[in-house]
Subunit: 360 residues, 3 copies
Amino acid sequence: MPSSGTAPEGIGLKRHFLTTLDRSAAELLDLLARARRIKSGAVRPDFRGKAMALLFFNASMRTRVSFEAGLARFGGHPIHLQPGKETYVFEHRDGAVMDGATQEHVREAAPVLSRYVDCIGVRKSDLITTGAGNADVTGSWQELRGDEFLRAFARHAGVPVVNMESNFEHPCQELADRLTLAEKLGDARGRKYVLTWAWHPKSLPLATPHSQLLSAAALGMRVVHLRPPGYDLDPEVVAVARQRAEAAGGSLEVTDDVDAAYRGAHAVCAKSHGGIGWFGKFDEERRHKESLRPRWIVDADKMGRTADAIFMHCLPIRRNVKATDGVLDGPRSVVIDQAENRLWAQVALLEHLFEEWRSR
Amino acid sequence: MPSSGTAPEGIGLKRHFLTTLDRSAAELLDLLARARRIKSGAVRPDFRGKAMALLFFNASMRTRVSFEAGLARFGGHPIHLQPGKETYVFEHRDGAVMDGATQEHVREAAPVLSRYVDCIGVRKSDLITTGAGNADVTGSWQELRGDEFLRAFARHAGVPVVNMESNFEHPCQELADRLTLAEKLGDARGRKYVLTWAWHPKSLPLATPHSQLLSAAALGMRVVHLRPPGYDLDPEVVAVARQRAEAAGGSLEVTDDVDAAYRGAHAVCAKSHGGIGWFGKFDEERRHKESLRPRWIVDADKMGRTADAIFMHCLPIRRNVKATDGVLDGPRSVVIDQAENRLWAQVALLEHLFEEWRSR
Amino acid sequence: MPSSGTAPEGIGLKRHFLTTLDRSAAELLDLLARARRIKSGAVRPDFRGKAMALLFFNASMRTRVSFEAGLARFGGHPIHLQPGKETYVFEHRDGAVMDGATQEHVREAAPVLSRYVDCIGVRKSDLITTGAGNADVTGSWQELRGDEFLRAFARHAGVPVVNMESNFEHPCQELADRLTLAEKLGDARGRKYVLTWAWHPKSLPLATPHSQLLSAAALGMRVVHLRPPGYDLDPEVVAVARQRAEAAGGSLEVTDDVDAAYRGAHAVCAKSHGGIGWFGKFDEERRHKESLRPRWIVDADKMGRTADAIFMHCLPIRRNVKATDGVLDGPRSVVIDQAENRLWAQVALLEHLFEEWRSR
């Protein structure tokens, strides 16, 4: 929100919400407890007079509407912006000589927006597309996993910046999934969680499966990443997830044994994602994975082998491609509740960030 | 608005506002009385904490701004969404194997949005376009008149769904036109209402003339649909309008006798629309109707034969094509008041729906 | 906001805010004093129940977000509209036979919106583009400087219309720049203000440099327009600025002497803009101006010759093209504060307009 001072340059990334990797277990537990109190009606945030800019470089439905409605329900005001369409084209590289297509540097955009609003959400993924086509990616996974734009933007912002999905992570999804697992399973520690790869015509982002793996790991579950060879997640994420799981009394396993993975599972979460080795070579990947399609769909037969597992998905889901109608419409599907929890997790996050930044 | 329960599946279509064909005369009269009370300032709705998602598959000005401003004026919050551009591409067919362009089924989209907001408006017309061109329609009139997407969406929504114009009907326009006729004519019973076809370079939707015919009929007016042969409205709408008119002491006549129709009219409403027989064959229709252009424009000469009739139009109107500047700028044009009534009718509708759904 | 009366046709342009050329020095001083009171927290506007439509024919970031956040912070509600994309295509010429691409005349659009909202902002510039390309302009400078669309729209509006940047002027930028100069320099009278042209790959609008020249002139500064031959501003603006400057004890000079201009300056404002003589011949202009690039960039060397001048820019700015990183990141750059002042100036303007129009 506007103040007459200069932009607080050099604020550490820690106080933004770009990743959960820089947050302690206790901090995340506090956030989730706050979300539950708000959802139950026990406490009521007050967002009157607060505005949040929501910068969507990509399409969205849940993220956008849950942020907008979450703010509005408690008196706040969202401002939805489509950078490069409704605004100018942004630059983020230091030292750039801007005589090409980029028109505004984040060194101006971020501090200016910070004078107008109280919080800024950014969705910038090189892989999210609308319709049937894949994206034209501009770099390798090693380059894109650093989320350079998002980090440069946050570095120059004077208000909290929230990652609404980047190449690397989708931390709001992580919070919502933790909330959902705890609601549905009670104490989730030691229960079996399967994050299963599924076939999809496109090569989908890694951010969401990363955050899903981290969500179950933090609860101390027996986490299984079930995927065909070639579809491993980012090694850093796997390492952190393993560490989190073990610290909380759980474990992490990566396997392609479909039958063994489903057996005895308490939660099955489906997610399609591209393989890091095929990154940017989407046609090649598509030819390779075509044969995997029937084996990897989540269906009643597979769910029947579980310990009456709940079925999770971040949505949107392509029906009868990643999971069958029967699974999605069945009594153990929690995908709608899971989507609802996006709102509660984010409302709690915003209230927390507003408090934290006010007291600086 | 979010609740911790599961989505209320299987709610009957009756409680949504997709059509007025499923509403009794008394219900509609109640709604209009409520609109008048709000407009007069006698009562003041309270929409604080309420959010409404407005899904526009097509362009809009009046509908969108009247909903947004109507909500905001009384403390509510609109969320404008352009499906398939800002969100994912939606599917509505049951059993679809979604390996093509569609990315999210209404079986997820509708219940998820219902967790975030208190009401959902949907404009989905296969015929509304921006600029000079006609739409590429995807089916015959017999297929499109069923508004399958809208009905599928509503079937899976847990909050009231409002039709903001579909292929078949534009029920919010009906309410606004009834309000306007009653304001301008007092007791409209037995007065003569002419809905006149007009030439237009494009083939425009049938939804609005349907709702306009129904509006005058419900008031017990002597309704005349004046159109060239080949431009009849949907037979079901004509039958319901006739029934409504007769039940309220009025009548319904369809004619191509321009002189007779205007004679003694108390209200003239201009509307261009395509002919059902040419549906999808827009070039052919355009060649056929070219000769009709001069005869069917609403001008001072024609208006001079009426009993000092008011001039109505839903807007936007192409000036000097459907009606002359003289008619639109003359003292009997009520088009701006008519547009304003969209807001009051919709505010009343929302207040009614919120009450109705709260008490479930 | 809706009322049951008819649209107040024929309201003079004076009461809208399309230009500052029709406002007295005292009126503008009052507006700026109000802005300072609001910014300091001494007074708090109340925009509850107020809605404003923001019609953006062009991209925006500061203008849009500062209006949206300024309204929201004090309880009001912005409605962002992209005419011709989300709405219909507008016509503004009187007597037009609308059988082409235009679908809705401002004679309907303006009064209808006036029934829904309390204020309407319009950005319509033929020269603002997104990315690297220039616009296809539809007329000569002599034609476009008249802002015919904006004026026709305002003529038919029943609520105040605010110019959010037209071809001729950007009056909200003028207010923000005056606020900034007064904040940074105290009594600016007699201090030296340099508006310097800079090279840019595109041919940018004249509206902003016009309003910037007017802002410094009104403060009685020694105003210097530093530009290469061929890059003069509109003669009417220059004449008004000279008159304003002299009335307030200042002066106006136009020069291409870079060294002399910077010497002893207290404020340097960089702005690229096209040359009126090349209007519409953008490729020709680009070839001509290529050689000017190194000489006209604002850099540390040039700033070093000033009397420790502040550096201003309206943003967005192409770094290392119009000014170097060193200047923008240096301690005398006030571009972020200047952008923040857009919000305070506009909040004051809206409060003023709401009061003025309420008392009519």
